[in-house]
Structures are given as C-alpha cells and as structure tokens.
C-alpha cells in the first residue's frame, strides 16, 4: 500500500533512466509546434534541370480558405537553384503560409533531368524527413515537369494523377511506381521502369499516359510504347484489364484479359547459363461477340491471342535486351530456384540478359 524508501528509490531510478534515455536519443529539446491552419500542403512536386542547377515546381491542389471559401485556386510555387534543398527553401519564402512537404504524393521528373540522372532527386527524397519515398513517380516525356504541373491550371494535377493511380490499381491504366520502388529497383537491379506522362491538348492541357520510361544506372535510356508497353506490363505481371479485339473467320470478337502472370526460369548446362525461359499464363473471357463461338473457333481464338501476346512480350524483351535492362526483375525471380548459381552470374546479369537465348511460352485460357 504505502510506498516505502525502496519504492521511492525505484521511482527515482526509473525517472533517471528515462531522462538518460531521452538525452541519449539526441533530443535537443521539445518538438516545434506548427499550426495546420497556416500551412500550404504541397501535393505535387516537379523537378527539372535548369541553367541554375535544379528547377523545382510545387503545387498544392485546390485549397480551402475557411469553411465557406472552398475551391480556391491551387498555389503553385517555383524556384530555380543550384540544389534541390535550396530550391525547396526558396519556395518556403514565396508563400504566406508554411509550406509543408509531408503530403507530396506525386513526383514528376522532367525528361532532360532523367537523361542526366534521377538518383540525386531520389536520394534527397529518401533523406528528407518530410518528403519520404512514398510519392508516386512519373516521368514527363517531351516536356518539363514544370509544364506538366502547370497543365493542371487552377485545379492542380494531383487529382488527375491520383485518378490514374486508382485506375492502375483496377488494371485500366499504366502500372504506377512509387519513388521507393524505383529507388529500390535501381539499387538492386540497376534498372527500373517508370510510367511516362505527357501534357496533351491546347491551353490547360491534360496529362496523358505515354508508355514507360526505362532507366538504367539512374539515367533514362528510352521509352516503351504501344504493344511494347503492353509487353512490359505482361512481364511485370500487370495488364489485368486489357481488352483485345480479335478477328476470327471474319467476325470481330473482344477478349477481356482478367489476369496475366509471367514466370521465369534459368536453364543451366553444368554451371554455365544456357537460356532464360519465360512462361506467361493469361486468363481472359469473351466480352463481346456476334455469335457464340464453337470449340474450334475458340481454339483458333486462343491461338491468335497467344500469338499476339507473344509478339508483345518478344517486342518488349527485344528492346529491353538491347538496352541491357532487366527492369522487371526476370533474372531475380528466376534466381529463387537457383540461388547458388545466381550468385555467380548476378554481377554480370545485364550482359547475360542481353546475350542469353530467351524462350517465350504463352498459355491463354479463355473462359
């Protein structure tokens, strides 16, 4: 019941330990309080290179000024400085509010910056306490990130980009990548793919999907578009809601792809690598047709779909092999069954990937 001298001693030692632990954490004082009402929450950040060094553009998206004043124009801040950090600091000074970077969900990288290397940008995002690597990463093709951010006008571009991301989750838009995923791929595999966008239309342009940008050793090596982009999605295991319009015996039939999975395996002869086998399993269903298909017609259709998907896969693979970029991690996935042998070829895998014979198998099941 009553606390004796031992109890008091324990309490004192517990408090002492707590204070010591607090000091050891490196805390130099209490955290700083900031009022959210005075904050401008940046949602989109665009980064380009510029004569000064780096051009950074930030946009808040539509803002609310009090409960009755909803719908105020997005705040766009721009700064050109020698480094990303100094540009961000300069943006702080341009606003009458505290610019808060913790809500940056979309990161746009200009094509010219990507050609020079995006690693410094990702490094900065990884180190900054507010930014982090959770933002969606997009590469702006044929324009600067600043132009892409400006394309949103008063409403900003974050809602458009958020829509694309949600469409992607449902399989009806390009695959999306977070900055963290791209950063990890670059560090682990030396290459990565990033969805590409391009402002389309006059005046207040709309950001449209424009295939995928392929990065190798942190720099842009090229883009995959159209059928090749679809092939990349098949390799990466996406493209779930693709619709193929096929012609069988003069009739147009639509096949809706419901799932696609690509597995890879390495072939060895002794310890030497002899080939890479890819097996793509696709499931789909007939979505539109004029007359019910007979069994023979269905088999023909399956063969036609297999051929088309194989062409897509081979197209994407050919391009990726030419660049030496296994950005979908085919080698790493195949290595799961050959861990010891993989250690021997892992270092030189990009070269192996370009040279080793690839066998592609496609199995299509139409329900």
């Amino acid at each position: 019941m009553r606390r004796g001298p031992i109890g008091r001693g324990r309490l004192a030692s517990a408090l002492l330990s707590a204070v010591t632990a607090l000091i050891l954490t490196g805390c130099s004082g209490l955290p700083t309080a900031r009022e959210m009402g005075d904050m401008a929450l940046l949602r989109t950040l665009g980064v380009d290179n510029s004569p000064a060094g780096v051009a950074v553009t930030g946009s808040t998206g539509p803002r609310a000024r009090g409960l009755q004043g909803e719908g105020e124009a997005a705040l766009t801040l721009e700064a050109d400085r020698t480094s990303l950090g100094s540009a961000c600091l300069a943006m702080q000074g341009q606003s009458d509010s505290y610019v808060f970077f913790g809500y940056v969900d979309q990161l746009l990288i200009g094509q010219t910056l990507a050609e020079e290397g995006i690693r410094p940008v990702l490094d900065y995002f990884a180190r900054d306490s507010e930014l982090g690597l959770g933002a969606q990463l997009w590469l702006v093709r044929g324009a600067t990130a600043r132009e892409a951010v400006a394309a949103g006008g008063d409403q900003g571009v974050d809602s458009r980009l958020e829509t694309i991301r949600k469409d992607s989750e449902m399989g009806i838009a390009n695959l999306t990548r977070t900055a963290g995923e791209v950063y990890t791929d670059l560090l682990e595999m030396g290459s990565a793919y990033v969805p590409a966008l391009s402002p389309a239309g006059e005046g207040e342009a709309v950001l449209a999907e424009k295939g995928y940008a392929i990065l190798k050793d942190e720099t842009l090596v090229g883009f995959l578009e159209g059928e090749e982009a679809k092939g990349l999605e098949l390799l990466a295991g996406g493209a779930e809601a693709d619709i193929l319009d096929m012609e069988t015996d003069g009739e147009w039939v639509s096949v809706k792809i419901t799932s696609a999975r690509t597995g890879s395996d390495l072939s060895f002869q002794g310890d030497s690598l002899t080939g890479l086998k890819l097996r793509c399993r696709i499931e789909g269903r007939l979505s539109e047709y004029r007359q019910p298909l007979s069994v023979e017609e269905l088999k023909k259709l399956q063969t036609a779909v297999e051929k088309r998907e194989k062409t897509r896969l081979e197209g994407a693979l050919e391009q990726l092999r030419a660049w030496g970029t296994d950005c979908t991690g085919l080698g790493a996935r195949a290595a799961m069954t050959h861990p010891a042998r993989w250690q021997g070829i892992q270092e030189d895998w990009p070269e192996w990937f370009s040279q080793v014979p690839v066998e592609v198998q496609v199995e299509v099941k139409i329900l």
């Binding site: 019941m1 309080a33 959210m36 009402g37 929450l41 609310a64 000024r65």
Partner: protein
C-alpha cells in the same frame, strides 16, 4: 498545554463512553438538553407503590409498539401488581411484556446506544439495572429501482439507506448459511454500523481479516459519505482511480460474493462495495451475465475501446495536428486545414479550453435540477458550440474530437473510473502539447506505471493482465465467455475454492 494546542491534539477514544454506574438519574444527565428524549412513569396495574419508568427517544421508537407491547401490559397485567417485587424483573424479562427481545443491562453505554437505536429502557424504583426492549421504528425509503445501474433484463431492486434491509436483500439471494455478516461500528459521533459480508469457504479469510482490521482502525467523527470509508480503507489519496468498486444492485453484489470477493455495506449509504477491486471490475455491468455472451463480449470490448478513446483522442489530436501533420491522411488534413482557417487560437489552447468547457457544462448540468440541467446541456453543448464554430472561435474538428472523447467517457459503467480518466485526459493533452507523440507516449507509460503500482487489499490493480505464472489466472477480462465455460473464480483474489460449477 495551551487551549489551542489541546484542541489540535488527537483526542483519545473514551472507553467506556459514559462512565459511572447505570441509573435513571444518570440517563437523564446523559440526555440533558435532548428534546426528543422522553420518559413515561407507569403504575404497575394501578398500584401507586409499584412505579416503572419507561425511557425512549421520540422518533426512534415506534409508538404503537411501545404502547401495545410495553405500556399496556405494565398498566393492565394484574400479575405485575401481585408478584413479589424481587421477581418483577424476571417476570418482565421472561414474557410479561410482549416485545420480541429483551435484555437486562447494568452499564450505561449499551442502554444509551439501545435507546438511540430505537429501543426503550424500563427502570423500576429502587433498582439501578434496567430492561431494554426493541421497539424501533422501521420508517425508511422503500426498495426502488437502481437509478445509476438500470436493468433491462434483470432484478429491479436496489440497495437503500437501511443497512438491515440491505443485508436482507443479500440474504434472500444467498440463502446459504455460509453467508457471514460481521458488524463493526465506525464513527465516534455517527456510530454507523458497517457490515462485512463474505461467503465462508470461498472468500479469502485474510482479506476478511484485513478489512475488519482496517474498519476497526478507522477513527473518524462520522460516516456521512462513501469517501469516509473508501479513503480510509484503501490508500486512495495517491491515485484518482477508484480501488473499491461499488454497486447499487443486490444481484451484482451477490455475484461478487459468489466470485469470492468480500462485500461491505454501511448504514446510510445505499451502496455495496466489493473487495478487492481490480481494474476489470470497473468495466463490468450488471447486464453482462444477462445478455448473450457474444453481445456482452462485444459491448465489453467497446467499453475498453471507449476508455482508450476518451483518454487519448484530445492528446492524439493535439499531437498529430500540431507536431506530426504528416501522419494524418491527406484528405483529412485538408479538411482540418480548411476548418482551422480564420480560427484565432492555437490548437493546443482550443483543445484545452474545449475540454474545460465540456467539464463546466457537465458540472452545471449536474448541479441543477433535472429539467433545467437538460436545458443547460442543450444550451451549452449545441447553441454555444454551434455559435462558436460559426464565429470561427473554435474549429469544428476540435469540437468533434472533444465531443467524441466526452461521449466515449460516458460508456464507463463506473462514474469514479470515468472521472479518473477525465483527469488523466487533461494531463495527457498537456503532455501532448509539450512533446507531441513523444509526450503522449511518455504520459501513457507514466499511466501504466501508476496503475501497475496500485494495489487493493494486497491484490494488484492490473491483476487481470499482470499476474505472474505462479498466480492462477481467471477468465479473460475483455470478453465474457459462455457461462458454462466460466468455471473458475479469479485467481489473484485468492479464493479458497476456485471452481464455481460442476
């Protein structure tokens, strides 16, 4: 010693309270200046040589009983006029008078106490001893419904102010002779009877002995409030958390006795305490065993969850909005930013002021009579709250956070426990406003440390969660298992018999 220091020194208890031999004159001295002290002289069967004096306290004794059972036989029984004077007392003690009890007393202390409790004292001329007959009135509040613990599916009686009525309510439910009731008198001036109840063979005898000892050690003027017992029986001064769970409901009280706890009832207080008190007792309601076990379990989890909500929400709001805005989902952050625009005060100030306003409105509602109290609550809560938001004095998000915390607090079955949570809510909000989530986490750690060091009659307060491997555990505290599966009494309360069913 000066008069002042003499008055400040502890007064020793006087034993006996009324010194000297017993006599009618002594009794008159004791009750001098007592307007309600009455005495009646009666000639035994009209014999003026044989005079009896009956003393009683007006209002404590019931007139009909006094008249019919004592005064009428004294005045009309011819045997009392003819019997030898030396045998009169024996005759009266053995049945000449009709009262159901009779005691011969020779000391003034028990006679005075008996008169105060409603008995009458009969003196015969020439004798210094007296006979005491119980003729007490039974005027008391009738047994009503438990207003603080309403029953939807269960017994509707509740404890009243009369101790003996309360013990009878318990005895009617637990008819086993193993139900033991030990009485102590507490309070120098109030002389309040306080009963300790337990089931012999189930309850821990050490707890019974400890409780009895602590009751004997209480040396106060009177027992007028529950705190007069609670704050003396447990070391309640160092913690706002209640250590003695209580109930108004006899059925719940009996359930506690069956679980092996020791009960405590005090005259004048319509409550029953169950000891030892562990934290899970404050989350249980009288309805837990009446509802289906799944429903009761879900409600129990909600109550625990609400305790966390009422404790943490204001602090969490301050910490997130002021120090860690990045942890708030973007859309919610945008709403908070919009709501916070044009509000002149800081979030910390807003939350603390709103918490304070909430307490003020609640206190004002409680102090006023029912209908006016409800009006004040509506006026304070709705009108002032709405006006404050519209005038941009406070942001709606703060109002919602404080209201959620307040309403969640009302789910606590124990008002005392809810009050302790309210106090800690303030403390955690202040800590969060100093150090954000770090401050809040430190506050929570402090709270756990505080709860972990509490004990109630030798049982850890957090016993349901913290008992070691050596102590047999009871059933889960967060859930109510199906009753056939609840075969064991709680281990930490050291019951003598752990199995409660076949």
């Amino acid at each position: 010693m000066s008069k002042q220091s003499e008055a400040n020194a502890p007064h020793p208890r006087k034993e006996p309270r009324i010194p000297g031999p017993l006599s009618l004159e002594r009794l008159k001295e004791v009750f001098a200046d007592c307007a309600d002290f009455s005495k009646r002289e009666v000639y035994l069967h009209g014999d003026s040589h044989r005079k009896a004096t009956v003393c009683y306290i007006d209002g404590q004794a019931r007139s009909e009983r006094l008249n019919d059972y004592v005064l009428r036989p004294l005045a009309q029984d011819p045997m009392l006029a003819t019997a030898p004077e030396s045998e009169l007392f024996d005759l009266m003690e053995r049945g000449a008078l009709y009262a159901h009890g009779c005691k011969r007393e020779t000391e003034p202390d028990p006679v005075v106490m008996a008169l105060i409790n409603g008995s009458c004292a009969l003196f015969l001329e020439g004798r210094d001893d007296c006979l005491v007959f119980p003729v007490a009135t039974e005027e008391k509040r009738s047994v009503g419904e438990p207003e603080n613990e309403p029953a939807l599916k269960g017994a509707r009686d509740s404890f009243v102010e009369s101790l003996r009525t309360n013990t009878s309510l318990v005895r009617r439910r637990l008819r086993a002779p193993e139900l033991k009731i030990r009485e102590s008198i507490v309070g120098r001036q109030s002389l309040t009877p306080v009963d300790v109840l337990w089931l012999d063979g189930i309850a821990d005898p050490d707890t019974v002995a400890l409780l009895s000892r602590r009751l004997e050690d209480i040396d106060i003027d009177g027992v007028e409030a529950a705190g007069n017992l609670e704050e003396y029986l447990v070391d309640a001064a160092k913690s706002p958390f209640p250590l003695m769970p209580y109930t108004q409901r006899p059925d719940r009280f009996c359930q506690g006795l069956l679980e092996g706890r020791v009960g405590l009832l005090a005259d004048g207080i319509p409550l029953g305490w169950l000891l030892p008190g562990t934290i899970d007792q404050f989350f249980k309601t009288g309805q837990d065993r009446a509802y289906h076990w799944l429903v009761a379990s879900a409600l129990s989890v909600i109550r625990w969850l609400c305790a966390l909500i009422t404790l943490l929400v204001p602090g969490l709001y301050i910490a997130l909005v002021t120090f860690h805005p990045e942890a708030i989902p973007p859309k919610l952050a945008l709403s908070i930013v919009a709501a916070k625009q044009e509000v002149p005060f800081s979030t910390i100030f807003e939350v603390l002021i709103m918490l304070l306003a909430f307490e003020v409105i609640q206190e004002a509602g409680l102090r006023l009579p029912g209908p006016i109290g409800a009006t004040v609550s509506i006026l304070g809560g709705l009108v002032v709250g709405n006006a404050a938001v519209e005038a941009h004095i406070v942001s709606p998000a703060v109002l919602i956070a404080v209201a959620i915390a307040g309403v969640a607090g009302y789910t606590q079955p124990s008002q005392d426990f809810g009050n302790a949570l309210r106090l800690w809510r303030f403390l955690l909000a202040i800590l969060a406003s100093l150090g954000g989530l770090t401050g809040l986490a430190l506050g929570c750690a402090g709270l756990i440390y505080h709860l972990a060091q509490l004990e109630s009659f030798g049982v850890p307060y957090l016993a349901p969660f913290t008992t070691g491997t050596r102590v047999p555990r009871g059933h889960p505290s967060l859930f109510r298992l199906p009753l056939p599966a609840m075969k064991w009494r709680d281990g930490p309360i050291k019951t003598r018999n752990r199995r409660n069913q076949r």
